[in-house]
């Protein structure tokens, strides 16, 4: 599809303290169509943040992108020079992060930080940029933007800081926004507001969103499509409605079952037995097999390929769709 953000075959490794290379992300791929919100979901440590960072080539220095292609429309981002990449960052694809307190520079006023983002890509005078920044602050729902412009990050609340981050991200009207756990560090009530904001902006600006989160509730409410990751691999991808109604992968199913839901009466929460293994001790074959209720011998030997089922619903499991007995 043109103009979508597509990741293919991503492999990211880290050197472990003992020196060996650990695969944090293995053969990951997803597609964010334009003006669509894709939720990238998984437990902590499954590699979803790294995947997001890889798009803008912001991986930590120790990490290595060994394989993979990242397409923004027709352009392969992995082939761009650093200078070309800089032109993409903030302008075509923007990213916001989890911790708004530490993600903003504590010694600059927030307004100036927004202006900085603007002037990185647009030739505007400082006055015009400032004007635009004020407008942005207003658009993200910050009251009394003129006052707040002069504030330092530590003088704002968590929700306001995240709004500033969003304003910064929006400043050059990017086509895509990568939001890495944007509400995890915020209070529940503030969470809802921020998510509302992101959703409304998506509508107005026609932005595609890659929403990285571990919270299924957010995925259910805010996304059109969802991709599930486990131990660095994609295990399921599809329209949110489809995946939630009929999860094909045992892991996805177990995840959905472990979340309490209103109106379901009293029911025991089912935990997934076992623990997520460390990436250093990756199981052979399907990464989920040691914990999978549907495991069969082939799961131990071979990695299940990502197969397409109806209407763009993909799953990587030899027994996709089957129920546990």
């Amino acid at each position: 599809m043109k103009e979508s953000l597509r990741i293919e075959g991503l492999r990211i490794s880290f050197p472990s303290p003992s020196g060996e290379l650990v695969r944090a992300v293995e053969d990951a791929g997803l597609t964010v169509p334009p003006a669509t919100a894709l939720g990238l979901v998984g437990e902590s440590g499954c590699g979803k943040t790294l995947t997001g960072l890889a798009v803008l080539r912001l991986l930590p220095p120790a990490a290595r992108l060994e394989r993979g292609r990242i397409f923004l429309g027709e352009t392969d981002l992995s082939e761009l020079t650093e200078a070309e990449m800089r032109a993409v960052r903030g302008e075509q694809v923007a990213m916001i992060f989890q911790e708004p307190m530490t993600s903003l520079n504590p010694v600059y006023r927030v307004g100036d930080q927004v202006v900085e983002a603007i002037r990185a890509h647009r030739r505007l005078s400082f006055a015009s940029a400032r004007h635009l920044a004020l407008d942005l602050l207003d658009r993200v729902g910050i009251r009394r933007p003129r006052e707040r412009y002069q504030a330092y990050p530590h003088q704002l609340s968590g929700g306001q800081r995240q709004r500033v981050m969003i304003a910064t991200a929006l400043s050059c009207s990017p086509r895509f926004l990568i939001a890495d756990e944007p509400t995890t560090a915020l209070d529940v009530t503030v969470q809802a507001r921020i998510l509302e904001l992101i959703a409304s902006l998506r509508e107005r600006e026609r932005m595609g969103i890659l929403l990285i989160t571990h919270d299924l509730g957010i995925v259910a409410g805010e996304t059109d499509r969802v991709a599930v990751m486990y131990l660095g691999r994609m295990v399921e991808e599809g329209a949110t409605r489809d995946v939630f109604a009929r999860p094909l992968h045992p892991y996805a199913r177990a995840l959905l079952r472990s979340v309490p839901r209103l109106g379901q009466g009293r029911r025991r929460l089912e935990a997934i037995r076992g623990n997520v293994p460390t990436p250093a001790l990756r199981p052979s074959g399907c990464p989920f097999h040691p914990r999978c209720p549907l495991m069969i011998p082939v799961c131990r030997r071979e990695i299940p390929p990502l197969k397409v089922y109806e209407s763009g619903h993909r799953c990587a499991c030899f027994r996709a769709g089957e129920e546990a007995t």
């Binding site: 472990s16 303290p17 440590g45 460390t278």
Partner: protein, 310 residues
């Protein structure tokens, strides 16, 4: 002594005792090499103590004065005809002894006062803080000069025995009595951070006395700070001893690298360079080794870098 078992959640092991730490240290080549060098110096010092097969540095022989390096005198001779190699080796003994004794004294004072100040707080903390703020306000070399100057040739009466503070002994005291400040401050900070920790509260709720809490529970957990400070402090004591000896406040009756450098001032005018070189290289070697080792130690013990073992 009643053993008070702390029930409930097991407390995290003290940083110094975590099993992975020493293994990590052993794996670093820098750590191994520097440790080897340190051991080499220790052996040198031991050699200096025993004097085995070492020409007597006291032998004065003006006929052989100012000889360059030769098989008989690998490092040459000085103005009095004394063997420079012997002086260097015994200088190692001097430097290491001074640094060690001063370090032990400084660590003992710093650890105890730091624990007391951090844990007991209040007036005790106030007084200890006042004392170390005072000592800190005086520029370091000025302070040790002042102490060394005053302690020279004094005698102190301890338990009916008279101790005469000759040159080098004054130096130990001077360095030890001034060097505890940095450690005390660090320990105090660490204790303040940990004194509301769960294992502390648990121990107190079982009736552990403050003394017990401090030494049995808090002390092991700040040991890593002590170890690193000890190692890095060692270097500064060696340098300080050199400067003091150079200025005439230190070792007078035993060879010291500082005195060797002092003597070399005049020697250089005559083109005699070997004593200066010997002393400089000796100091350089042990300093470098201690710095590298101290760094490796600090990296291995640093709680931040340790967490990334997942």
């Amino acid at each position: 002594m009643k053993r008070i078992a702390v029930p409930g959640r097991a407390s995290p092991p003290p940083p110094a005792a975590e099993p992975g730490v020493w293994r990590r240290l052993g794996r670093s080549p820098a750590a191994r090499i520097s440790l080897a060098v340190i051991v080499f110096y220790l052996l040198l010092a031991a050699w200096g103590c025993s004097g085995w097969e070492l020409p007597d540095w006291r032998t004065v022989n003006y006929a052989r004065a100012y000889q360059g390096p030769s098989p008989a005198h690998p490092f040459g001779t000085d103005i009095h005809g004394r063997d420079v190699l012997a002086k260097t080796v015994i200088g190692a003994r001097t430097a290491l002894t001074v640094a060690f004794l001063a370090s032990v004294l400084a660590v003992a004072i710093g650890l105890i006062l730091g624990l007391l100040a951090g844990y007991l707080g209040g007036a005790v903390d106030g007084i200890i803080t006042w004392v170390y703020s005072t000592l800190e306000s005086v520029p370091y070399y000025l302070l040790i000069l002042a102490f060394a100057f005053v302690l020279q040739d004094r005698s102190i009466n301890l338990w009916g025995m008279e101790f005469r503070l000759e040159g080098i002994n004054a130096v130990y005291l001077a360095l030890g009595l001034t060097g505890w400040v940095g450690l005390c401050r660090l320990i105090r900070g660490e204790v303040i951070k940990r004194r509301e920790g769960e294992y502390v509260l648990a121990a107190r709720s079982l009736g552990a006395s403050p003394l017990r809490v401090m030494f049995r529970h808090l002390a092991p957990n700040v040991l890593h700070v002590v170890i690193v400070t000890f190692t890095l402090g060692f270097v500064s004591y060696i340098h300080a001893e050199v400067v003091l000896s150079f200025l005439g406040l230190g070792a007078k009756e035993v060879p010291s690298w500082g005195v060797m450098i002092d003597e070399s001032k005049l020697e250089l005018a005559r083109g005699v360079w070997w004593q200066l070189l010997a002393a400089s290289l000796a100091i350089f070697g042990i300093s470098l080794a201690l710095h590298v080792f101290g760094d490796a130690l600090r990296d291995a013990l640093d709680p931040r870098t340790r967490g990334t073992k997942r």
